[in-house]
Structures are given as structure tokens and as C-alpha cells.
Point group: none
Chain length 228, copies 2
């Protein structure tokens, strides 16, 4: 999923440079000419993954906005990169003191900006919990990451081959696979086995599927498939 970035700066040119370049990197970029506008947008439930923030602006200035942001638990973990014409060390230190995560000075290099943005997002993405994928049909659940099958909640062990066969079925409901198709996707293109071998795997799979054994259907003369 695309990472969302807010660029808050009262100069249209800067907004454009940031937007164009970061979108080229595959980010979704929203630009705002003031912190107040950005804040309004966030209150509507539009939460960015990173904020690029000018300091001197009409209305709420960057420092103030950052400080406010970091005091709200929901927003505190969003990285804030200051981007300002203020080059004094004092200004930078203040930015960090108020909770900022980075500080770049104008004029800035686009490539450095992109690199820094990427670095911050890299660091935060581990925080975002990864959800495990599941292939499900009724009480049958297959967890690709875990090579595991659960039938009505209780787990069943599969062999590697059984796992791959069941997976191509669940990934392609309705599709019928010939025995060649099946063995190809499980063992690679140039593996040859006797047809009866696949039948045996199917049989073993059906045994393990218990009450759901009929989700694997036989199409005489054609092959096997999963059909609801």
C-alpha cells in the first residue's frame, strides 16, 4: 500500500517540487499551504505516514504544529521532517526539541529529500503490524506463511506437496487443473510422475480435509479443482 505524505509549505513552488518528486517514488502526496489546513484534513481521518513541514507560515507555524502533533498520542508516532530556510543551529535544535525527527535546510537537494523520506518510512514501517494472509473457505483455513491448515479451528499438518496442491486450488476457486498442471506448479516444469501419484496426493489431502473433503472435486478425464 502507498505511503501517504503531507507536504506543508506556503510556497507553491516548493509544494510542487516535493509533490512531483515524491509521487515519482510511488508515494501519495497531499500538499497544504498552511498547517491549519493540514490539521483540518487530519481531523477528518486523513492520517499521513510522514509530514514534511515548513516553519515560517501564516497561522500556526511549523514549530507550534509539530509540538501540538507530538502531544496527541494518535499522531505522535508520525515522523516530522522540518524543511526550512532557517539555517541557524539554534533553529534546528529547537525543531528537534519540539519533537521533530529531521531537519533539512532550503535550498534542498531533491535526491537527499527522497533518501531521507525513505529512511524515515523504513524505520516506522516495522511498527505497522503485518497481518498474516489467510486463504479461507468455510471452516478450511490455509496460512501460506505457516504452511498450516486449520479445519474448523483445529490445526492439521500438511506435507509440502499437499500444501502446494491445496493452495493452488484455494487460490483459483472454480479453476480445473490437469494432473500435469498440478505437478508442474508443485515440482517445477520438468518433473514427470505417473498420474496415479497425483491421485494419491489428492486422496491424502481429502483425508486431512475431513468433513470438507468434497471441496476437491474430480473432473473425470480432465483433472481436479475446487468448486463451491
Amino acid at each position: 500500500m502507498k505511503n501517504k505524505i503531507f507536504a506543508i509549505d506556503d510556497e507553491r513552488d516548493i509544494q510542487e517540487i516535493i509533490k512531483v518528486n515524491l509521487e515519482k517514488e510511488g508515494y501519495e502526496v497531499n500538499t497544504f499551504s498552511s498547517a491549519d489546513l493540514a490539521e483540518k484534513h487530519m481531523k477528518k481521518g486523513n492520517i499521513p505516514d510522514l509530514i514534511i513541514l515548513d516553519i515560517m507560515m501564516q497561522g500556526t507555524d511549523g514549530y507550534e504544529f509539530c509540538k501540538r502533533l507530538k502531544s496527541v498520542k494518535e499522531y505522535a508516532s508520525i515522523p516530522v521532517m522540518f524543511l526550512s530556510a532557517k539555517t541557524e543551529e539554534f533553529d534546528k535544535v529547537l525543531g528537534f526539541e519540539l519533537g521533530g525527527d529531521d531537519y533539512m535546510t532550503k535550498p534542498f537537494g531533491v535526491r537527499e529529500l527522497k533518501a531521507r523520506v525513505k529512511a524515515h518510512l523504513r524505520r516506522t514501517e516495522t511498527l505497522h503490524a503485518k497481518e498474516t494472509q489467510v486463504l479461507r473457505y468455510k471452516g478450511v483455513e490455509l496460512y501460506p506463511e505457516q504452511y498450516a491448515l486449520s479445519i474448523d479451528g483445529s490445526s492439521v499438518d500438511l506435507t509440502k506437496t499437499e500444501f502446494f496442491i491445496l493452495r493452488i486450488f484455494l487460490e483459483n476457486p472454480g479453476k480445473i487443473f490437469s494432473r500435469d498442471n498440478i505437478i508442474d506448479s508443485v515440482r517445477g516444469q520438468d518433473a514427470y510422475v505417473v498420474d496415479r501419484t497425483i491421485d494419491v496426493h489428492i486422496m491424502n489431502l481429502r483425508k486431512k480435509l475431513g468433513p470438507y473433503k468434497n471441496i476437491i472435486r474430480t473432473f473425470s478425464g480432465v483433472g481436479y479443482g475446487f468448486k463451491e
Copy 2:
């Protein structure tokens, strides 16, 4: 608890400036004149919370060191701040590409350095808190900060390799790791060992797990994993 910082730079003066100023802030600072020395220290179990890294050095240079660090799961989350006389945008971008988290150019302002260090530690501390937590499953308790394992209350010594393997299992319950996955997270990306080597580590681990040896399950043709 004090945050530990490694400052790696071949100039004694720089080392001193960093050490003195950051210690004033309450950090524990270790200085090294080469990345190789720092790495040796880390292998002994001395893990910093942040690394300040020069680029041009004798032996392994900063870029190379950073890249290697980020490829080892154990070290990947440690923030790396480059501190270099190389001011070209290209150099900065490269630093970030290799997994760096920040880049300051020499000469640098001490106050800005302190502010940036603080910002990085602020960001990682929540993550870090989780990392030093005890990993527990039934009577098995793993203490990440001391390579120690306790089984039903009595402590068992683990070797470093055993510790890391057990840890990735306990951190990812249900997930299955191939032998390559395992050795990669323990030794870094481009380490090659024979498959049977991992089996031996697993066997030794199981012996030490005593009554809980079966929490490490074998998935034939796939790898190993921890499953409740």
C-alpha cells in the same frame, strides 16, 4: 537506564568532542577508531542503542559497515547516523540507501548533533522497550539482553547462535523459517553454511529446551518453526 552510543571515527579529536558532549547529556559513549573494532565489540554482546559513524576509515569503511549491520536482524534496528566530511548529495543519498538513518556533515554543530541523537533515541525507545522484553512460552523464558534462557525457573546457558535462533522463533510464533532464513537472520545475508549445520544447532537447542524440546517443530522440506 543509560542509552549506549558508539562513536566510530578515526580522528581522535572528533571522538573526544562526541564523547564529552554526549556523556554530558547522560549517555554512555564508547569510541572506536575503526568499524572493525566496533564490530568486534558488538560480537561480544555489547550492543549500542545508536551508532555515529564516519565514512572514510581504515579497514571497513562506514558505508560497508552500515550495510552489513542492516543485513543482520539483530542489529538492523539500531539507528546509524553518518557523520562525514563528504558533503556531496550523492554521498548522503548513498548513506541512506545503505540503510543509514541520518547524515550530518563535518564540521558539525554539537548542539545539533545532540538534538539529532536525542530525536533518534526518542523514536526507537518504544521499539526498544519491546525488544528487551522477556519472551515467554509456558516454562520457557528468554532474556534478550543477557543471552539467557530459563526452563521452568532454572537457568540454562545458550550459545549466541542458539540464542538468536530461539529468539526468532519466539518472536514469530507460527511462522516457519527455512534454513536460509535462519542463517541469514543470525549471521547476515551472505553467510553460507551447509544445511546440516542448522540441524545441529536445532538439535542442541532442543536438548537444552528439555521438556519443551517439541516447541521447535520440523516442517519437512520447508524448515523449522515454533508452534503452540
